[in-house]
Symmetry: C2
Subunit: 108 residues, 2 copies
């Protein structure tokens, strides 16, 4: 894994029960993010209650801004707000320290 510092986008959300085409779009966004400059990795978990957290990792804040503006991603963001999420919180954070077991496993 790349050593800190780098950036994390922490996105937590509650899905509506009737969120149509959410899964396909989420998969497509993961694929699309992975091709963006400065992408370092992504991890995602969602429980049966509909609450989920996705954290994506980026080299710089400029890379995050570019990803936010990406055309297909913007369409997905609009659908997220209008169709898929009951609520969400998004935080941009600078990763200062990282460690893991057995060794950090997130690879670009």
């Amino acid at each position: 894994m790349r050593k800190p510092p780098y950036y994390a986008v922490i996105f937590s959300s509650v899905l509506r029960e009737d969120a149509k085409e959410y899964g396909e779009t989420a998969d497509r966004m993961v694929e699309l993010a992975a091709g963006m400059p400065g992408y370092l990795g992504i991890e995602s978990a969602r429980g049966a209650d509909g609450f989920g957290i996705t954290v994506s990792y980026w080299e710089t804040e400029a890379d995050i801004a570019r990803w936010k503006r990406e055309a297909e991603h913007r369409i997905a963001q609009d659908r997220g707000r209008s169709e898929w999420y009951l609520r969400y919180d998004l935080r941009v954070a600078k990763v200062e320290r990282a460690y893991g077991m057995p060794t950090p496993t997130l690879e670009p």
Copy 2:
């Protein structure tokens, strides 16, 4: 919600299938963290595949260090490494920006 800057501990992990007493301990750690100085909130999601992400939020890095050293938490950390996790990654990050819909919902 408190405005940035504040700190996030991003903990991602894969649970062993035979993780005994993990759920009770995780619940107890949430309760214990909530009573620590500088605690701002916690959110957690785990999918059916065993991969989970927990993010806890703190006012300062000193608060995180104090929580890491807390006696009952240390015992849980030891059990995590030896009994519960196939792997984990832990990152300490400084939250610089936050927004949400309809409004940020994480309350201390």
